[in-house]
């Protein structure tokens, strides 16, 4: 039936192919799990609790690295307090040494001049990793401090090289979640740094300082770090970030899609999750490049709920 009212999405929205949007919007839970992705190494699993699945996988990677005495280079998102605490507490409990871990934080806030936020800045993402992961590990199980990498003013330009050097060409694992505008880390679409339409060129881009997309500021203003208050003026509009090259070159990937408000009812991630997982691979949805990689995306049952109009519950 033809709709009585139709419109084109606002022009500033990076990905505006209505047909693809509608297809992704209408995907059912079953279709999400059984979608025939051309890359057989890319898996989507719908589970009740992605956090504990990711925590379990991360723990196993650390345990194997300890038992086999092999280097493990991981790019970490922040802040993932609950998961990191569970993993490190388990390492402490089972005496899993993380001596072989080389950790790279995937992004950090910055100011308009390109100054990277120090780890002492309350919402610092690197600071969160230190507190939630590194400092929570028992001292004798911690990796040497030189193997923990946060962004600084000095290293931002060669951060990709640091990852490649540590990992013999690339990280072993990228752990991530997607953002409202489709970003991974702070690789935002329609930006000066990562705004190319050429996918091949996009995949070669490394770490950079970036003015993030307005939707990313809007998303972050809802977070706990900034008071859950929509305080846009107090949320940084600039960041430093790993690049698409660091993501796509990594040997394995672990992602969770379960960023909902408490109760799982409301989630800005519900639509972009579908677009990332089942839309085309495009710089317009940067996180879609995971489709090119080996990896597992754990999607929560809440996230996989049908996108349907609710007339009676506004928020």
């Amino acid at each position: 039936m033809k709709q009585s009212f139709s419109f084109k999405p606002a022009e500033w929205i990076p990905f505006r192919d209505m047909e693809v949007l509608e297809r992704c919007r209408n995907m059912t839970r079953e279709e999400m799990e059984n979608f025939p992705h051309p890359n057989p190494e890319y898996k989507v699993k719908v589970v009740t609790d992605p956090n504990s699945a990711v925590a379990g996988e991360l723990f196993m990677r650390l345990k194997k690295s300890d038992e086999e005495d092999t280097r493990l280079v991981v790019i970490f998102p922040n802040s993932w307090k609950n998961i990191y605490k569970a993993v490190t507490e388990s390492c402490n409990r089972f005496n899993v040494s993380c001596r072989n871990l080389h950790a790279f934080c995937m992004d950090e806030w910055a100011d308009s001049e390109g100054n990277v936020a120090p780890v002492t800045y309350g919402p610092s993402l690197g600071g969160a990793f230190l507190r939630e992961f590194y400092m929570n590990l028992r001292e004798d199980l911690r990796p040497p401090f030189e193997q923990i990498h946060v962004f600084t003013n000095e290293n931002v330009k060669h951060y990709s090289q640091l990852i490649e050097e540590a990992g013999d060409g690339a990280a072993d694992l990228v752990v991530s979640a997607t953002g409202w505008i489709g970003h991974t880390a702070f690789i935002d679409p329609n930006t000066k740094v990562y705004g190319t339409d050429d996918l091949e060129e996009f995949l070669t881009l490394g770490t950079s300082f970036i003015e993030v997309h307005p939707i990313t500021v809007i998303q972050n203003s809802l977070g706990r770090s900034y008071g859950n208050a929509g305080d846009l003026a107090n949320t940084p509009a600039y960041a430093v970030t790993v690049g698409p090259r660091d993501v796509v070159n990594a040997k394995d990937h672990l992602e969770r899609h379960n960023l909902t408000f408490i109760g799982g009812y409301n989630s800005w991630e519900r639509m972009i999750s579908r677009l990332q997982l089942y839309g085309p691979v495009t710089p317009k949805v940067p996180a879609s490049i995971y489709q090119l990689c080996k990896g597992t995306v754990y999607v929560s049952e809440d996230m996989a709920r049908p996108i349907t109009i609710s007339e009676t519950v506004n928020y």
């Binding site: 208050a229 846009l232 003026a233 107090n234 007339e311």
Partner: protein
């Protein structure tokens, strides 16, 4: 500790508000952010007829206020012209229920709306568009009201492509110069109705601003984000599902209304997150400015009801001392 860290850890990280924010005076924003519940409750507003009340249940105040006005209009057989917000299905359902139970006749009621969706060509969404604001009112109030208590259908003024340009005149005509009461709820951009802080209504001075009437406008990026997480768009952040434009009343309709009820209680179901918290404080304690359109409410008689969870202290995570990260 790495040498680079020692250097940067001695710097205080500060940043300016985002350049694209319609209102970005950091000093004023900081002062507004610091305002506490007590500050709000004890503040003397420049206009004595503008009141602020912090309450536990704003929605009940909405239902009671509007029901009382409809009841008075029935008892006194007086015309009542109201401008209503959407989507408030639960409110309209309960109003219909109360009117039915107490046999309150709505014959004197004239209803107008704050806004309605429109497409990029300025065509206004019809009532059969699933996310239509007017449809919510039609379904939950008009549809649930006993037929003998309903106002004449022509008293319910939905926005249309044809009437948007003279909608303000229709309000003035029905309400003898303005609505009796205008119910509003500030948006994240600072908007009131779809009167956004940028775009079609921005002009050189406040006198001119307050004379502007209904029209089609472009929805602000912040408003599209806000609406995309509403129930009408599946609580999903589906930015592309939100229409790019709206039909809206103008500042003149706010100015001409004889009373105003502003309601601030938009938050997640657990009450833990509310994008309204900061913009509410800026509306109340910043300047009266086109950059925060809802601030004009302070010029007029009215009551601003704020949920006590919206009035929370706004604190970002505090900084750590320089020597915190010692290993």
């Amino acid at each position: 500790m790495k040498e680079g860290w020692i250097t940067i850890n001695k710097l205080l990280f500060q940043h300016k508000p985002v350049s694209w924010l319609p209102f970005n005076d950091s000093e004023i924003i900081s002062k507004a952010r610091e305002m506490t519940r007590e500050d709000i409750e004890t503040h003397s507003w420049e206009n004595e007829e503008f009141k602020v009340k912090i309450v536990e249940d704003v929605q009940s105040h909405f239902v009671i206020d509007l029901f009382n006005r409809i009841h008075q209009s029935h008892v006194k057989d007086q015309k009542l012209t109201v401008i209503l917000p959407n989507p408030y299905a639960a409110v309209y359902e309960n109003l219909a229920l109360l009117c039915n139970k107490y046999e309150v006749n709505c014959r004197n009621l004239n209803v107008f709306f704050l806004n309605e969706w429109a497409n990029e060509e300025g065509q206004v969404a019809p009532l059969d568009y699933p996310s239509s604001y007017g449809r919510i009112f039609q379904k939950y109030f008009y549809g649930k009201l006993n037929p003998e208590l309903r106002p004449d259908e022509k008293n319910i003024h939905y926005f249309t492509t044809e009437n948007v340009k003279h909608y303000s005149d229709m309000i003035d005509e029905a309400g003898d110069g303005g609505a009796d009461v205008c119910y509003t709820a500030i948006g994240w951009s600072g908007r009131i109705a779809s009167i956004e802080p940028e775009g079609e209504f921005i002009c050189n001075d406040m006198d001119t601003y307050l004379k502007q009437t209904s029209r089609i406008v472009t929805n602000h990026i912040i408003s599209i984000a806000e609406d995309s997480i509403c129930g009408l768009f599946g609580h999903s952040g589906d930015l592309a599902a939100v229409p790019p434009k709206s039909a809206t009343i103008g500042p003149r309709d706010i100015a001409n209304a004889r009373d105003h009820i502003e309601m601030q209680y938009k938050m997640t179901v657990d009450g833990g997150t509310s994008w309204q918290s900061m913009i509410s404080k800026l509306m109340l304690f910043g300047p009266i400015t086109m950059s925060v359109p809802a601030s004009i409410l302070r010029m007029f008689k009215g009551t601003c009801f704020i949920d006590e969870r919206v009035v929370k202290d706004i604190k970002r995570v505090p900084d750590y001392p320089d020597d915190f990260y010692k290993f």
